[in-house]
């Protein structure tokens, strides 16, 4: 499954970059959300996939029974998901606000700060 996941993640990255390259700011943000998901999935995948062994210790035991899925990447991904949520909530409201101020959702029309 890891091999398949590798291609899945590649597809997610490609889709997100493609969306970010569009001129609409909305697509830009959707692309960012996808990108963040893709990266999370990548961390999760590269440290190995394990089926049906959540890292929980049953009552009375000192270790999970019968092995465990690596809990550390899970914790990292959880942190990354939450961070991603905060950042993307900001980004979503930013494009909303930017649209109100500029009255334009075409990124090509937002060049005044550069040139």
């Amino acid at each position: 499954m890891q091999t398949i996941m590798a291609f899945l993640i590649g597809a997610l990255f490609a889709a997100s970059i493609y969306m970010m390259l569009r001129r609409s700011i909305v697509k830009l943000v959707i692309g960012l959300i996808l990108l963040s998901n893709a990266a999370n999935l990548l961390i999760f995948t590269v440290s190995g996939l394990t089926r049906g062994l959540p890292p929980l210790i049953p009552e009375g035991a000192a270790l999970p029974e019968g092995g465990w899925a690596d809990p550390l990447p899970q914790a990292l991904v959880l942190t990354a998901i939450v961070i991603g949520f905060g950042v993307l909530a900001f980004a979503v409201v930013l494009i909303h606000r930017a649209y109100e101020v500029i009255n334009e959702d075409d990124l090509d029309k937002m060049r005044s700060t550069d040139t």
Binding site: A39, I43, G48, V87, A91, R97, M110
Partner: protein, 504 residues
């Protein structure tokens, strides 16, 4: 146990949380702003002193020993960077009192700056790659929010590019961290320094190193990845610009220094050659951008790119002297660059514009400000006996010793062009007479300025100028510090031993 290692992170966190709790009281926020950053400054100086006298300090968070928990590590480079961040924080906090409008205060200016500082200090002190990602995000989100304070059109446009490109960089960092864990099963930097060379597939180690390089180079604003910087740095309130200019890109530079001395030193001929090209092009493109523009803050923004080139050049040459030069240059640059933005702000509050074509006459009316501009400006251009000269001298000497003539030539020519654009500001804003058609606005701004707020603006400018002069004239202690820092960087065994104990 060395609790002082964590204080530069904890203090701004507490200050930030407190200013949120008292978000209704502007007075309280201002006091917390000054006291919090002041305490941070004290704590970081203590940290630097202890690091200098006692060697690398390590603090295992939660008492979980490395490499299992997160450690905060203060080596000299980290401690130096922390002190610089604290100096900037304190100076900008003072400068903010008269220049940040009530509106901005109401929308979280002070908590945001505290948390920005926390993120920056955390990034400098952490000894864990994922934790570094977290700190980078903290400072990034704080900078997002600071960037849009005011909500003007230009800020929105700048912010979109800033947010999108920086997020891309963070994602690349996250991917690199994930791959690192997949390759080695560890996240602790010292542990990585031990385990990365043991990875069977050394090619993959270099590949992951390149991902880190790209990600940090985006953050550092190096060529060809700097676009977000000139697009946005000139848009927020000037105190914010100053803080950004001084600190944010330096996190990227710091990370490059950390990663490409401690972790990715296996294939120096390859990785550092790439860094060298990056450095050269950053210098040139940045300085040309500055030569093109006629708006003070845009000029200064492009100069950041160019100056980043010098720092990376120090790293890329990878000789002991070059690393010393890089560290020295970082120290000098943070102070000088932020100060130039502060001066630009003062100019704005006297003339009502950042456009060079609309302002003038300051040398006639305010010669002391002229002097306070010349000090950082000439220092940036690398003229002696100011701090910038010694930074540049060390780097160029390292380049000559390494017989890297190409980069030496670039560094020298770029120095001249830097001078050219600094002098452009000088000749237009200070020497030229105030253009008639904008005289009314200038007069209106002059009238609004009172002595009290002027003084609060000048104190940080003056202090930073004094530091610039001191780094120049008293370069010996600064050099010794940079030398000791470089020695630690070039011999990672110190770092590894300090974090992992005697037998790694």
């Amino acid at each position: 146990m060395s609790p002082e290692v964590a204080l530069p992170v904890i203090i701004p966190f507490i200050a930030g949380a407190l200013s949120l709790i008292f978000y209704k009281s502007h007075a309280a926020q201002r006091w917390i702003g000054v006291i919090g950053t002041g305490a941070l400054l004290l704590a970081s100086i203590v940290l630097l002193y202890n690091t200098y006298t006692q060697g690398i300090l390590v603090m295992a968070m939660g008492n979980w020993p490395a490499p299992f928990g997160i450690v905060l590590v203060s080596d000299l480079l980290g401690a130096i960077m922390t002190v610089l961040a604290a100096i900037m924080g304190f100076g900008v906090a003072l400068y903010s009192l008269p220049t940040i409008s009530r509106d901005h205060e109401a929308f979280g200016y002070y908590p945001l700056t505290h948390l920005l500082l926390a993120g920056v200090c955390g990034a400098f002190l952490t000894g864990d790659v994922f934790n570094l990602y977290v700190w980078v995000e903290v400072l990034l989100v704080a900078s997002f929010a600071l960037l849009i304070l005011g909500g003007e059109r230009a800020q929105m446009e700048g912010a979109i590019k800033y947010v999108a490109l920086n997020l891309l960089s963070s994602i690349l960092l996250l991917v690199a961290v994930g791959l690192t864990y997949g390759l080695t099963g560890t996240l602790n930097m010292a542990d990585l320094a031990v385990k990365l060379p043991q990875v069977e597939d050394q090619g993959m180690v270099t590949v992951v190193g390149m991902l880190y390089m790209v990600s940090f180079a985006i953050k550092a604003g190096a060529f060809p990845l700097f676009f977000w910087l000139p697009a946005s740095y000139h848009t927020p309130p000037v105190a914010v610009s100053a803080l950004f200019a001084g600190l944010l890109t330096k996190v990227g530079v710091y990370a490059l220094f950390r990663f490409f001395t401690l972790l990715f030193n296996q294939d120096v001929d390859y990785t550092h050659e790439i860094l060298l090209w990056m450095a050269g092009f950053s210098m040139i493109t940045g300085v040309l951008g500055a030569a093109y523009h006629y708006e003070i803050r845009r000029i200064l923004s492009f100069h950041i790119v160019s100056q980043i080139g010098y720092m990376i050049m120090g790293l890329a040459l990878f000789t002991p002297l070059a690393i010393v030069g890089g560290v020295f240059y970082i120290m000098h640059h943070i102070i000088v660059k932020a100060n130039l933005f502060l001066v630009a702000g003062a100019v704005y509050f006297m003339r009502g514009s950042y456009e060079l074509k609309e302002i003038g006459g300051l040398w006639r009316t305010r010669p002391w400000l002229g002097l306070l501009f010349l000090i950082p400006a000439l220092s940036l251009a690398g003229l002696p006996p100011l701090s910038g000269f010694f930074g540049k001298y060390i780097i160029i000497r390292a380049g000559v010793e390494a017989e890297s003539w190409g980069i030496v030539a670039v560094a020298l020519v770029v120095g001249l062009l830097t001078l050219y654009s600094m002098i452009k500001i000088w000749a237009e804003a200070f020497w030229k007479a105030q253009p008639e058609e904008h005289a009314d606005r200038a007069a209106a701004f002059e009238k609004r300025l009172n002595d009290h707020s002027l003084m609060l603006m000048v104190i940080p400018i003056l202090s930073l100028a004094a530091i610039t002069v001191f780094i120049g004239l008293g370069a010996q202690p600064i050099y010794e510090l940079a030398d000791a820092a470089a020695e630690q960087l070039l011999d990672p065994s110190h770092y590894i031993r300090a974090v992992l104990g005697e037998a790694p």
